[in-house]
Symmetry: none
Subunit: 248 residues, 2 copies
DNA sequence: ATAAAACCGGCATAAACCGGCATAAATGTA
DNA sequence: TACATTTATGCCGGTTTATGCCGGTTTTAT
């Protein structure tokens, strides 16, 4: 077995399982522990995986790890502030779930008077602190993990709504693949939300840019704007601008 | 299982449920109590969570939770425990809002499998920690102060429901005037809930006994049982017993 | 007040890590 | 072809890490 082959195999396993353990690899590849360790070390130096004691983790899993980092006040705050300016008096606004959206609510002007519609329980709870606005929760069956409403009743209620704008906390966005999600039911909900609004705005921290998940929410062409922590004319947003997406 | 994986899992759980318990984690991750403790300790040092006795809280929401958890009179706990025994496997249960109901949820057996229906946002959020059961939220327009759904859509949805039991956190109850409320809209919601269930059970701390508020929820004769912190045969409940209400 | 549960510090151990060295195969060069 | 160089791999020792266990203490709940 050639070194390159081993490397390819390791990366393949990593793509499938999001993790590999040295012990497992050295048996299946029939090489010594040291060789595996060196392999992982090299791949880690090339940035193709994250080395940890006893094995390695895929880069994407590490994203979710750092995404869980509660301490991202800077970027998320920036995004939330910029996105908050999009909400004007009298608007009907659809909100998804997620910590960025929650942060956005904190940045709404207290005297603002808008109508907020959301399928997310924590977001609904947060919105109730906002005195000026009306809050409408949609859906009835609740998804425990995502803490949002799902199912047919939600779609039925959304069908009778034409919101001014839909603000989505985004898991993954790509200038070609559009907005994607890693859970089917959540993707379905967001898909319905996009269809119920005249404009779709994606709130995405830069590390979510150019990433793709299995389930599509909407095509890139359906996204009207994307809000990141970057300046509007940042080079790293070029692909989105040329896809006709406004960058804020 | 690699250490980093556990950490990622813990943070993920934390983002979902806003809290984790060591005991729960050590079973699901199949490691010793010590390892979990060390994991939580390390994550706490990195500032990714708040360590508390027996588990950890999410950094973002711990204040809301602990604030509500701190204020728990002993009586409410007693009531919640007794009321929790009324919920059996397979039941469809309507729940109102209120801290007593929330406490009740904590006392549900984890392996219980029931369907809970509620118009209260905090209660819905709390219910999502209960793995075994299905959670349905009803209504869409939200009342900011009471944090429950109100309005016509709620009534419409309730009309198509026949629950086994309706558990009401009660503001005022009297053996003659029945259950009453101090806000019209909330009273309307609870009235609809009573009509949508075969049985109505009132959870009332003793200080609420024999008090009357302006807006009626239901007549005394419509109440099947009342749960207080008293013993079932306590003298002070005599009036309710003779009104045909079961005292628990 | 008392018992159960959670916490802490320390210890033990097995697994994983590291650096260096040796060997052998592959590659390059005269 | 013969010799030197590089590369890949395995092996060895000493070190670090991860984890479980244990005794004693604190916190929580009844």
């Amino acid at each position: 077995m050639l070194k390159k082959e081993r490397h390819a195999f390791i990366l393949q396993q990593l793509n499938i399982h999001n993790r590999v353990m040295s012990n497992d690899l050295l048996q299946r590849l029939a090489v010594s522990e040291d060789t595996i360790r060196r392999d992982l070390q090299e791949l880690a130096e090339e940035g193709k995986l994250i080395k940890v004691h006893g094995g390695a983790l895929s880069r994407s899993l590490h994203f979710t790890l750092s995404a869980n980092d509660i301490y991202l006040p800077k970027e998320k705050k920036t995004i939330a502030q910029k996105a908050a300016t999009l909400v004007q008096d009298g608007m009907v606004v659809l909100l998804s779930g997620g910590t960025t959206i929650r942060e956005l609510i904190h940045h709404l002007a207290p005297e603002l008077s808008a109508t907020f519609i959301t399928p997310s329980v924590p977001i609904a709870l947060e919105l109730m602190n906002h005195t000026g606005s009306e809050v409408i929760f949609i859906g009835n069956r609740l998804h425990k993990v995502a803490q949002i409403a799902i199912g047919a009743e939600l779609t039925r209620q959304l069908a009778s709504i034409q919101a001014d704008v839909c603000l989505l906390g985004t898991n993954a966005i790509d200038s070609k693949a559009g907005i994607t999600e890693n859970e089917w039911e959540v993707a379905e909900v967001k898909k319905s939300m996009c269809q119920a609004a005249r404009q779709v705005v994606a709130l995405a921290i830069s590390e979510k840019l150019n990433t793709v998940q299995p389930f599509q929410v909407c095509k890139a062409s359906a996204v009207h704007a994307v809000v990141t922590e970057f300046e509007p004319h940042d080079e790293r947003l070029a692909a989105y601008r040329s896809a006709g997406i406004q960058c804020i």
